[in-house]
C-alpha cells in the first residue's frame, strides 16, 4: 500500500522488486529463446500435461486435436492426456478443480467464459499471448475481451463460433424477395415465406443461441448492453426499443410459437426439415444437411450478418479459450503446448471444416482455410471485422456472464413477443441488469 510506504527515491529498487523484475525478465527471455528454437525446454521432459476440453460439435476436430496433442507430447517427452466433456459441464468441473486446488493443467472455456471469476487463480498468459500475436500478425480486435482482466491476459483465445444467416435461395427466388442482407429484408422474407409454409425461427427460450442471436440483432440496431467500461448497463435506449419492436414484428409475422421451446439444435433441425426459410445459426446447421437433406444443402446460402436500420452489422459469436491453472505444476509445458497449438491455427481451422473461426490475423487473412475456397462460405471471411461478444461494447464481465446465464436479454424479447408492453419489459430488464450489476463485486 503506497499510503503507508515510507518516502523512497523513485530510482531506488528494493530487494523484492529486483527479484521480481529479474525473474519475470528471465522467464520471458527463456520463453522467447524456447519459442525461437521451437524446442521444448529440458524441464518439461518427463512431465505430465492434462488438458480438459469440450466435445467439439465437429467430432473429426476432436480426433485431430487428441492426435495433435499426443504427437506434441511424444516429441517433447511430455505425457499428454486429453479429457473431453460436454461444454455445459465445464463451469461445474472448473469450480470443483478450483476448490480442490488440483486437476487439469489446461482447461477450456466455451461460450461461458469465466476468466474474470477465476483470474486470480489462473496463470498470467500475457507473455505468450503477445508473442503468439507478434508471430502471427496480431489478434483480431475482439480477441482480448473474453480473456483480459486489468490489462493482463489469462487465457488464449483459440477460436470463435459464428452464427451467420443461413437462407434458402430457392425459396427466396420463388417468392421474389430480396436476400436477407438487412434485418428488414429478413423480416419481409419471413413474412412472405411464412404464408407459403416456410416460416423462420430464432430461439425465444433459455439456450445459448437465444443469447447470441438476439444480441446480434440488438447491437446491429445500434443498441448496446453496457458502456465501454462494462460497469453500467445501457439497455434503456431508443435503439433497444426499436430492436424489441422489430423482434415482436419478426415473431408475429415470420415465426411460429415453436421458437419458445427451442434449444440450440432446434433451428438446425428446422433447416434440415426443409421448412425454414432462413435461420441465424452456426454453419454446422448447413453442413449437416449435406447428408440429411441434400436438396436443402444445395439451396442453402450463407449470408453476412444482416445490417440494422443504420447499416450497422455486429455479429455476436461464441468465444472459446484455453486457460492454465496457477496451481498447475506444469505451466511451462502448458504454455509451450498452447503456443504450438496456435502455431497450427490454420490446420485447426481446416480440421474443423471451417467451423472454428480464427482469432489470429494471419489465419483470418483472405483466403481463409476451407471457407476461402468454398463459394458459399467465402462471405464468412468478412466477419472478423464485425465480431463482438457478450457485454458489447464493454468487456465480457462476471456481471454479463450472470445476465447471460439467467437469459435476461432473450427473456425481454420473449416477453414482448408474448404481448407485454415495451416500456414494462424494459423496466423489468433494466431492474434485472441493475440488480445483477449491483451485487457483483467489481472484477
Amino acid at each position: 500500500m503506497t499510503l503507508f510506504a515510507p518516502d523512497r527515491d523513485p530510482l531506488q529498487v528494493t530487494r523484492r522488486q529486483f527479484v521480481r523484475t529479474t525473474s519475470i525478465g528471465l522467464a520471458g527471455s527463456s520463453l522467447a529463446t524456447m519459442l525461437a528454437a521451437r524446442r521444448a525446454p529440458a524441464q518439461i521432459k518427463g512431465s505430465n500435461l492434462r488438458i480438459l476440453t469440450w466435445s467439439h460439435f465437429i467430432p473429426a476436430y476432436d480426433a485431430w486435436f487428441d492426435k495433435f496433442a499426443g504427437e506434441w507430447g511424444e516429441k517433447n517427452g511430455v505425457k499428454v492426456r486429453v479429457d473431453h466433456i460436454p461444454h455445459l459441464e465445464i463451469p461445474a468441473r472448473m469450480a470443483a478443480e478450483f476448490a480442490a486446488g488440483a486437476g487439469h493443467d489446461i482447461l477450456f472455456n466455451g461460450s461461458t467464459i469465466l476468466t474474470r471469476i477465476y483470474y486470480k487463480t489462473l496463470a498470467d498468459l500475457t507473455d505468450i499471448y503477445d508473442q503468439i500475436g507478434k508471430k502471427h500478425g496480431g489478434w483480431i480486435a475482439a480477441a482480448r475481451s473474453p480473456v483480459e482482466v486489468e490489462g493482463r491476459i489469462y487465457g488464449i483465445p483459440v477460436y470463435y463460433i459464428l452464427l451467420p444467416m443461413l437462407w434458402r435461395k430457392d425459396l427466396f427466388e420463388e417468392a421474389g424477395v430480396k436476400p436477407p442482407d438487412t434485418w428488414e429484408a429478413a423480416r419481409v422474407a419471413a413474412r412472405t415465406l411464412k404464408a407459403k409454409g416456410h416460416p423462420t425461427g430464432i430461439q425465444l427460450s433459455h439456450c445459448n443461441d437465444a443469447n447470441l442471436n438476439w444480441r446480434s440483432l440488438l447491437f446491429s440496431f445500434g443498441g448496446t448492453e453496457t458502456d465501454p467500461s462494462g460497469e453500467h448497463p445501457t439497455i434503456d435506449t431508443k435503439e433497444m426499443r426499436e430492436a424489441l419492436r422489430f423482434g415482436k414484428a419478426l415473431f408475429d409475422e415470420g415465426m411460429t410459437p415453436e421458437v419458445f421451446s427451442w434449444d440450440d439444435a432446434s433451428d438446425n433441425r428446422y433447416l434440415a426439415s426443409g421448412i425454414a426459410s432462413w435461420i441465424h445459426d452456426a454453419i454446422s446447421a448447413y453442413r449437416t444437411t449435406e447428408s440429411t437433406n441434400p436438396n436443402v444443402f444445395k439451396n442453402t446460402y450463407v449470408g453476412l450478418e444482416p445490417a440494422g436500420p443504420g447499416g450497422k452489422r455486429v455479429s455476436v459469436s461464441a468465444p472459446n479459450a484455453f486457460m492454465v491453472w496457477k496451481f498447475s505444476k506444469n505451466q511451462a509445458a502448458a504454455k509451450e503446448f498452447l503456443v504450438h497449438l496456435m502455431d497450427n491455427d490454420k490446420q485447426g481451422m481446416i480440421e474443423s471444416t471451417g467451423y472454428n473461426m480464427p482469432f489470429l490475423n494471419d489465419t483470418a487473412k483472405k483466403p481463409m482455410p476451407v471457407i476461402g475456397s468454398d463459394a458459399k462460405l467465402q462471405v464468412l471471411q468478412d466477419f472478423p471485422k464485425i465480431v463482438a461478444f457478450f457485454g458489447y461494447p464493454g468487456p465480457y464481465t462476471t456481471q454479463i456472464q450472470e445476465v447471460a446465464n439467467l437469459f435476461v436479454l432473450p427473456d425481454m424479447f420473449t416477453r414482448v413477443a408474448r404481448g407485454q408492453g415495451i416500456d414494462e419489459t424494459i423496466k423489468w430488464g433494466l431492474g434485472e441488469y441493475q440488480r445483477i450489476f449491483a451485487k457483483h463485486k467489481k472484477a
Binding site: P91, T112, H206, E258, S261, E402, N405, G431
Partner: protein, 327 residues
C-alpha cells in the same frame, strides 16, 4: 432413581449392587463391563454418526456459511455479508417464480405419484404370467441415467418431431403440425411446467410403487381375509387396515419422495433450463445457474437454502407421525 453398578468377587461368585458414586475413580469404571458395552455401542454407532456428519451436517453447515458470505467460485477467501444474499434473492423476480413453481411442482407431482404408485403397486400384487418381468420393467425409468431418459423425453416433446404429437394428430385428437391446435409442449408456459412434472412423475413413481408394494406384502393375508368375512369393502380394508399397518413404510416413502422431487435439478435443466421466460424455473435450477454457472456461490447457496423451509415442515410432519405410531 439411584444408579447402581453390578460388582462382585470373581472367586466367590457373589454379586452385589454398588451405588455408582461409591466406585473408585481410578479408571476401574472404564474397564467395567458396562463401560465396555457402552463403548462398544458407541463404536457401532460411530460409522453412521460419522457418515451423517460428513455427508449431511458438514455440507449443510458449509452451505449456511456460504449463504452469509460473498463467496464466488473463483476466490478462496469470502467475507461475511450477513443476510445480503437472502435479501438479494427475495428481490429477484425469477426467485418468486421459482419458489411458486417449486411448490406447484412438488404438490402436483406428489399427488400424481401417490395415485399412480398405489395403482401400480396393487396391479403388481395380482398374480399373472410374467409378473417378475413386469416388476423388473416398471423400475426401468427409475434406474435409467437421468440424462438419457430426460433427453428421450426432450425428443418426445420436440416442437416439430414430437412422437406424442404425431400420434395424437393421426388419431385426430389434435390438429396438424403448423396449426394452432398443435401443442408446443416446452414452449407454452403452462404446458411446459406440466411437461416437466410429467417427466418427474414418470421417472419416480415406480419408486413409490415399489415402496408401497413392500408395505402391502407385509400385511398378513389372515387379517385381510378376516376383514372380508366381516364385510369390509376394498376401500374400507385399504383405509382401516392396510394404511395403518404400513404407515411407517408410507411415511419413509413420502419422505424420500419429497426430497427427490424438491431437489430435482435434472429434469427442468435438461428440458427447458427454466424457460420459456422463467415459466419452468425452479429453485434448484436457479441456484445452479447463479451459484455455479455465474460463479456467485454465496447467492446460489442462499437460494438453495430456501428449499429448507419448504422441506422442513413436511419432514417434521412425517417424522412426528411416524414417532407417534411407534409408541
Amino acid at each position: 432413581m439411584t444408579s447402581t453398578f453390578q460388582a462382585g468377587d470373581p472367586e466367590t461368585g457373589v454379586r452385589v449392587a454398588v451405588p455408582l458414586g461409591a466406585l473408585p475413580r481410578s479408571g476401574a469404571w472404564f474397564r467395567s463391563q458396562s463401560a465396555r458395552r457402552l463403548g462398544f455401542g458407541y463404536a457401532l454407532l460411530a460409522p453412521a454418526a460419522l457418515y451423517v456428519t460428513l455427508l449431511v451436517a458438514v455440507p449443510f453447515l458449509f452451505s449456511l456459511y456460504l449463504a452469509v458470505s460473498d463467496a464466488t467460485v473463483g476466490e478462496q477467501m469470502a467475507g461475511f455479508i450477513g443476510l445480503e444474499n437472502f435479501k438479494a434473492a427475495l428481490e429477484m423476480d425469477s426467485f418468486w417464480i421459482a419458489l411458486r413453481n417449486s411448490v406447484v411442482f412438488f404438490v402436483v407431482a406428489a399427488v400424481l405419484k401417490s395415485l399412480l404408485g398405489t395403482s401400480l403397486a396393487f396391479l403388481l400384487l395380482q398374480e399373472f404370467r410374467g409378473k417378475k418381468l413386469v416388476r423388473a420393467l416398471v423400475v426401468i425409468p427409475f434406474t435409467l441415467p437421468v440424462a438419457i431418459s430426460v433427453l428421450g423425453w426432450k425428443w418426445m416433446y420436440d416442437s416439430q418431431f414430437s412422437v406424442v404429437n404425431w400420434v395424437l394428430s393421426r388419431l385426430g385428437l389434435i390438429g396438424a403440425y403448423g396449426t394452432d391446435a398443435w401443442p408446443v409442449w416446452l414452449g407454452d408456459p403452462r404446458l411446459a411446467l406440466v411437461a416437466c412434472i410429467l417427466v418427474n412423475v414418470w421417472r419416480t413413481f415406480p419408486f413409490s410403487a415399489i415402496v408401497l408394494l413392500a408395505g402391502f406384502t407385509s400385511v398378513p393375508n389372515e387379517v385381510l381375509d378376516a376383514a372380508k368375512v366381516d364385510g369390509c369393502s376394498f376401500l374400507q380394508r385399504f383405509h382401516n387396515i392396510v394404511v395403518p399397518m404400513i404407515f411407517p413404510i408410507l411415511m419413509v416413502g413420502f419422505l424420500f419422495d419429497t426430497v427427490f422431487t424438491l431437489s430435482d435439478l435434472s429434469v427442468v435443466y435438461i428440458l427447458t433450463q427454466g424457460g420459456p421466460g422463467n415459466a419452468t424455473q425452479i429453485l434448484p435450477v436457479l441456484a445452479y445457474q447463479i451459484g455455479i454457472q455465474a460463479g456467485n456461490l454465496g447467492r446460489g447457496a442462499a437460494i438453495a437454502l430456501f428449499l429448507v423451509p419448504l422441506l422442513a415442515p413436511a419432514i417434521f410432519v412425517f417424522l412426528r407421525n411416524l414417532k407417534r405410531r411407534e409408541y
